[in-house]
Each structure stands twice: as C-alpha cells, then as structure tokens.
Amino acid sequence: MIGKDKLFSTFEKVAKSSRADETEIVFIGNTSGLTRFANSTIHQNVNETNAKILFRVVFGKKIGVAATNSMAINDLRATLKNAIEIAKYQKDNKYFIGLPEPADYAEVDTYFENTANYTPKERARMVKKVFIRGNKRKFTCAGSFSSGDGEIAVFNTKGVRCYQPVTSASINIIAMSDTSSGFAICLSRNIDNIEPPALADIAVEKAFRSKKPKPLPPGDYEVILEPSAIAEIFEWVNYIGLGSKSFLDKTSFLSENIGRKVMSDSISFYDDGTDPEGIALPFDFEGVPRQKVYFVEKGVGKGVVFDRTAGNRHGVGSTGHAVTADEQGEGAIPLNIFIDTGDKTREEMISSVKKGILVTRFHYINGFIDTPKAVLTGMTRDGTFLIEDGQIKHGIKNLRFTDSILRAFSTVKGISRDRRPIPSWWDAVGCLVCPTVHLGSFKFTGTTDF
C-alpha cells in the first residue's frame, strides 16, 4: 500500500508539468494472492503486486490517454508526455464536457487488515480443510481461494482527490464424484466472513444429492434459481442492457422500455456503489460520487447508468459510473447490482413447486441472440435437481436454456428474503447481490450427456 498522501503528492508533482488544460490521473494498485486447487491438491499458487496509472489529458475537447504500471517519477512523466502527444492527433469529442469538479462521496469501510495480511500458508491451511470435508464423503474438491488488498485513487487538476483502500477475498468450491458435482461460493471484503469448511459441506451435499443424475426432456418448467444462477443471468443482463452504450446504441432491452412494464411487479434491481452489502466503491473512475440507480423498479423500466460524456450526450448528468479512461468507449457500466429481496425462504419456494427444476448455477451464458428482448442461452452445471410435489427428488442431467429474460422474469412466483454477494469478472470493484428466485416458466431447449 502506497497511501493517500504519497499518491496525491506524487501526482501533484507530476501534474504540475502538464501543459494540458486539464489532467486526470487514476491509480489502481493491488497486492493479491490466489490458490487454485483441483483433484484435492493445490496446483497453482500465485501472487501479484501491480498497479495501473492512467493519465487523461484534455485540450479543449481533445483527449489523450496513456497508462503505465510504474510509479517511478520518470515513467510517470514519460506517460504524461505520451498522453499529451496522443491528444495532438485527436479530433474534438463534441459530447465531452471536461473533467469533474470535486464532490463529496460516501464514507464506506472497505479495508480489513485480516484480509490484507492473509498469507499463502493460511490459504493452504484452509484449502486442506476443504479437502478433508470432501474426502470424508469420498468427493474430490476443486476451486480457488483468493485474498488481497489494493488502493484506488482519482486525481485531477480541478481538485478531485478521491481515495479508497480496499480488500477482498473469495472462494469457490466444486465437490466432484464420477457422476455429479456440487458448488458453493462466497465473496467478502472481510475474509473473516468466509468459512471454507462450511462452504465445502454445501458443495459436497449438492454433489451427493445429484449423484447418478437422470435425464429430463427439454421443455417449459417452473424453476428455482439460486443466487449464483441469478448472478450469472444478471451479469449478462448488465452486459447487454444496463450500461450507457447499449442504451444509446438501441441494443438494450431498456432503450425503448423506460416507463414500460418489462417484468413482474415483484422484480426491482438497481446499482448502489455505497452499500457495504456489496463490494462498495463510492466513486467512479472520473471521481464522481456513485448514485443509486434503479434499472427496473416494481417491474417497470427505469433507466441505465451514465458517465459524464454519455450523460451529456443523452441530456442527463453522470450517475457516477464511469470506467477508466482507456475503456470509456464502452460507456458507463454498473458494478454493484442488487436484486431486491422478497418474503419467502428457499425451502418455502421449493415446497410450493408441483414439478420443477432447482438450478445451482449456469455455465457459459451468452446474451447476444436478440438483445432488445434479452434472449439468453446457457447450460446448467454443478447441481441441477428435479423438484416434485414440493421435494427435491434427485439430480438431473444438465440442460440448456434459451429464453427471454423479460418473459421469464414476468412469471415470478417468489423471491427469497435473504440475498448474497456473488463475485463476477469485476469482483475487485463490485459484484452482484442476489436472492433465490422462483419463476413460473423457464424454457429449457436442449440436454447434454452428464
């Protein structure tokens, strides 16, 4: 950890030599470790200390961006020079409205010493406990366990000084037999909230109950989708529909549906970068405070997120969801997506199903089939079960679904009153916080051999 004072004093020094009208420096640094295991042995164990320092310089409406991973003053100055050189060749971006002024952002506790100080040896000790839990019931275990700390800082010559120290830890576990597998996952900024042996028990139980799975024909079924399955769906819903680019490109299912009913009344989901129930980060990579933004509220399309440039293009302000300057062509995206809870327990929902399917998680979802209708396809994996007469009967072979998420989530029969943070590819700076959801109709269109 470099620290707020040293980072900003270094950036002040470097920015003084900038000839640009405005200069922005964003720092993203991390020291992290990850232990990977499979066949109940550790096969990869890695550590990384790295940083990315991005310069964005502004000449009128011309922008240049350059990045380095070295904090050496000479390298920082060379990168600034590179950004200025690039800006010379730029064309005016008519939608750009300059870098932001300073603004207050929420105070959120995102740093936990225990997580920062967690060692490879401690990760190995926990992973061994996972193996023991698996071995007891004759299952092998695979997965990964990561921990680390980092710093995110946004500096600009208009006075923005945003700084957030962060930690995060996550584990995923798959328990496996010859014919089945089960899955469990946990994510937290505080490693003390992660209990690998207890998670191993969940994965093992799922693998045990899904042994020798039976085939089930494709068709339209009631489903209970557990939090990981919901997160995988909404990760794609985000990708194709909740950011400014897809909205403005008209490829989002929300582009033509603001104010219109798109899902069941019981469905609301939003982004909130300040809620510690997720992986909070209270400002974006331009230094704008993150606002709470509803995408769908009580089933009705509400809006998407914007950065300053896309917000100006659409005639609205930034919602505080800018990505780093080198990625801003992709527009603003939400990073902390929350799906509102309901009033049921998982068990109550299962007991209400006459015939249906319980899905632990999905694999390899793709949502580019028909994005305005949010049609997704993907496979189930690691614990798919037949429910009959309110009871989990047995494991079933994995199924492919192909369905419009707007249609399927217009058939909601229940939502759990608890929800959990599930990591995604952007898990250092966000996640999806998801409940278990009971849908009345979900279309499975194919099967596989296991």
Partner: protein
C-alpha cells in the same frame, strides 16, 4: 536482465529448488476506436514486470512484481519459494516435468511496417472514413471501427540454462454497423465480429485487409437484416462460413483438447472435457475428412511464436486425424501423463500471470471443394455467416452458436436472408456429420484476440485456420 535473472536463479538453486524460471515482459498496447465519427478510444499502455515460477518439494509457487530492480526480483523469487512451500503442505503427488532442451535463442515475429511508427492521424483517418461511410444511411444507429496493436518483448531464463528472448508484434482491425428501424436492431461486421481479424504481423496486415472495399456491403446487409425473416426452426443441411468455422474449432476442439482441462485443473471455472485420455487414438471425434492440428509455426498467424513460456520450441501437433482423436495440447507438467514431451503450448497473459496450456493456431485442414460448387451440391439448406452467439457446456459437448446473418440455400444458390440464426448440437455427432470442406482457396487463419481461461482470468491471442464446411441434418433454431 539476463544477468539479474542468472543471479536470482543461482540463489534459488542454492535453496534447493527443483526447478525455477524467470520471465520479463514489456507489453505495449495501442487502441484506437471511432464510434459515429468520434474517436472515443485513443490510448497507449505500457506494462512491465517480472514473474517467477518455482518448483520446490514437488509443488509450485509463483510470484510477480511490477519492478525490474534486482532487489525486487530477489524478493519476488523468495515469495515464489515461500508460496511453493505452502503449496507443498497440501499436495497429493509431486509435480514432475518432462525433459526439455535448454535453448538459447532469439525470435522475432514477421513485421514489415511497425504499427507503432505509423502516424496516429493516418490510422484515425482510415477509421473515420469507415465510420462516416457506414453512417451514410440514417438507419445505421451506430458505426464502430477499431484498431489494436501490441508490441511485446519477453525474456525467459530457467535453472536448466534456457535463455530465450522474443519480440512479437500483433495487429488487428475491424468494424461493425448497428441498424435500427425503431423496432428491430441488427448488426453486421467486417472482416469478423468481435473487433475484426488479427495477426502477428505489422501494419501491412491492416493494409492487406482492404477495409474500405467492404464498408458498403456491411452497411447494406445490416439494413437488409432489419426486414429479413427470422431463421426457421428446422433440421437442415448447413454450410458454415470460414470465420464461424474458426469459432466452432475453437470451442468444440481447441478447448477440449487442452490437457490441463482434461486432467481436471480448470474444472472450477471453464470446466472439463469430453476428450478423455481413455479415448486417445480411439474416440471417433468426426467424419474421416476431419483433420485438426495445432501449429504455432505459421508465419504471421496470431497464435504463432518462437517458444512458449516454458521455453519449449513452437511446433505442429495433430489433434484429430482422419476423424480420430490422436493428440492434446500439452505442457511439461501434463505431457508425461500420456507418456509424451510437451508440444509447447504454455503461455501467460503477461509477466504477472502463470503460464497455462493455451491454444496456438488450431486449424481445420482444407478439403477439396470450391464454395460455389458446395452450395450448388447442397441444393437446399442454410448458409451461416459470422459469429454472434457462442455457448457450450462445461465438458464441451452441447453447443449452441448463432451468427449475424444466414441465407437460404435454394436450388443450389444463396437466396433470401434470415435474421437471428442459431444452430445447436452435440460435438462428436456434429463433427461426424461433416461431409465437405472447402479447399485452400477459401482457407484463412482467423485471429481470435480474446480467449479467456484461468483464475485470475487470462486472455490469450490465438488463431484458427478454417474454410467453409458442410454439416448434414443439423438442428437449426431452438423450438423443434
């Protein structure tokens, strides 16, 4: 750098490591993208650091740091050693590496015109012209055109005495048009979807694409798709274009032939493989005309290099021969499991990542057919053109792929356009239904710049040589 690595490797040897290697990587990237006449991405990124891999007491440790100071390299080596000790505390069997000649060599990818020396305004000018021409019809809602360039210098040294330096330049470009008529949204791309085509070549590769020649066709096809009929749900004989065949090879043969995946070490994220060791030299993967091989030696192909990140020389290796599964992509650790030496496919996404088995250029050998003859011979069917959707199960069996555009084959000719086309199947059954592959006139090595694998996630740049091919009685759509 080699001297610094020598000192650190000597120190590691003094700590009784069984094996260690050090990798220095300096990676430079330039990205340019024009959207609707605005340059919304123009950035350069320089990333430098060192990664050290240590095998101690039969277990691996890896550490990396964004520094090239000798004191930091030694600290990193010590961290890798401590991490290997931690791994050893939870090991089952000792890691054993296949034997390997310790090369001392230098490799440089072919490059006639360094893309980093081509004036930025020349590159922007081309992309702006493409964007403007794509937008020349009001039904085009968004026009995007992009270029990406990578320049990588790598130095690899090992305790076995290897000293390898490589300089690799990669270039790529592509564009797309999104059409919107107030109701329907459709997209067409050139020369391929997902940011175009890529190669380990210089700016001459971009020039040879003749990007401007295909702008009008791309725009008009995006508009035509708006009023096209939805692709029917049916069972049909289908012809798949070359770039989509590249994706088909990638997902249904490239990934499942990675031996680390077969041995279960990728199961928690990307999944396993149906191409199990018991089936080696026995599994009927496809029809007798299906021949697929890995070849990292094709000059200029995106998956080509001199040596992999374990110091193994680039090579060609068969995977499917006359329809039979005969080989895997291997590493020094996994190859001994099947009694072989590594065929050189271990690559890392930068200094801060551990090398994994990655595809190189995984190619489907060309067949005998001219495309027009194949369409004529098919009589009735559907032609699938350019990837849009990809999804496959975690053993690589059940797949469902979609393309940007399909055309009906009627009376041996291409006819009306279909939108939102999907086809689906089970991998071996599908490849066994392959009865015709187009010849070398239609064969091209397609660069795929974004292959994901591993935890932490790594992105590899790989490629696939492929030509259009025909498959019989394939399920098209999802309702029937």
């Amino acid at each position: 750098m080699k001297n610094k690595f020598g000192n650190v490797l000597d120190w590691l040897k003094s700590k009784s490591v069984e094996y260690a290697d050090c990798r220095y990587v300096r990676a430079e990237k330039e990205s340019i993208r024009v959207t609707d006449g605005i340059v919304d991405t123009l950035s350069r990124d320089v990333d430098v650091g060192v990664g050290i891999r240590v095998l101690y007491n039969g277990a691996w440790g890896f550490a990396s740091m964004a520094s090239i100071k000798e004191s930091d390299i030694k600290k990193t080596a010590n961290k890798a050693l401590q991490t290997a000790r931690a791994s050893a505390s939870a090991k089952k069997d000792n890691v054993k590496l296949a034997g390997q000649e310790a090369f001392k060599d230098y490799y440089k990818s072919p490059c006639e015109k360094d893309p980093f020396l081509v004036p930025v305004d020349e590159k922007i000018g081309l992309l702006l012209e493409i964007s403007d021409r794509l937008k020349s019809n009001e039904l085009i809602k968004t026009a995007e055109a992009s270029m990406d360039f990578f320049k990588t210098n790598k130095i690899f040294c090992s305790t076995e005495g290897a000293e390898i330096e490589q300089d690799i330049i990669e270039s790529g470009s592509g564009y797309s048009a999104i059409a919107f008529d107030g109701n329907e949204v459709q997209k067409r791309s050139y020369p391929n979807s997902h940011r175009g085509d890529y190669a380990t070549r210089g700016y001459e590769f971009i020039e040879e694409m003749h990007l401007l020649d295909y702008v009008d066709k791309t725009r008009e096809e995006a508009i035509e798709l708006l009023t096209a009929e939805v692709c029917p749900d049916t069972e049909a004989d289908i012809i798949i274009c070359g770039s989509q065949m590249a994706l088909q090879v990638h997902e249904s043969c490239g990934h499942p032939s990675e031996l680390d995946r077969v041995l279960g070490t990728e199961i928690s994220l990307a999944g396993g493989s149906f191409m199990q060791i018991e089936g080696l030299n026995d599994l009927i993967y496809g029809s007798p005309i299906v021949n697929i091989y890995a070849d990292a030696t094709i000059p200029g192909a995106l998956g080509s290099f001199g040596y992999d990140d374990e110091g193994v020389k680039a090579q060609r290796a068969p995977i499917i021969q006359d329809g039979i599964h005969v080989g895997y992509l291997t590493s020094r650790e996994t190859a001994p499991v099947i009694g072989q030496k590594s065929n050189g496919t271990m690559r890392a996404d930068g200094w801060n990542r551990l090398p994994l088995i990655r595809m190189t250029n995984i190619n489907l050998e060309p067949g005998e057919w001219e495309l027009d003859d194949l369409i004529a011979d098919t009589g009735s069917g559907i032609f699938f053109d350019m990837n849009k959707v990809w999804s496959i199960d975690d053993r690589r069996l059940n797949f469902q792929f979609g393309v940007e555009c399909a055309r009906e084959i009627k009376d041996g000719k291409l006819g009306r356009m279909f939108k939102n086309p999907l086809y689906t199947g089970m991998t071996p059954k599908f490849w066994n239904s392959c009865d015709a592959i187009c010849n070398k006139n239609h064969w091209h090595v397609w660069g795929v710049p974004n292959c994901g694998k591993g935890e932490p996630m790594q992105t590899a740049r790989v490629a696939h040589g492929a030509a259009p091919a025909r498959f019989r009685k394939v399920k098209v759509g999802v309702s029937k």
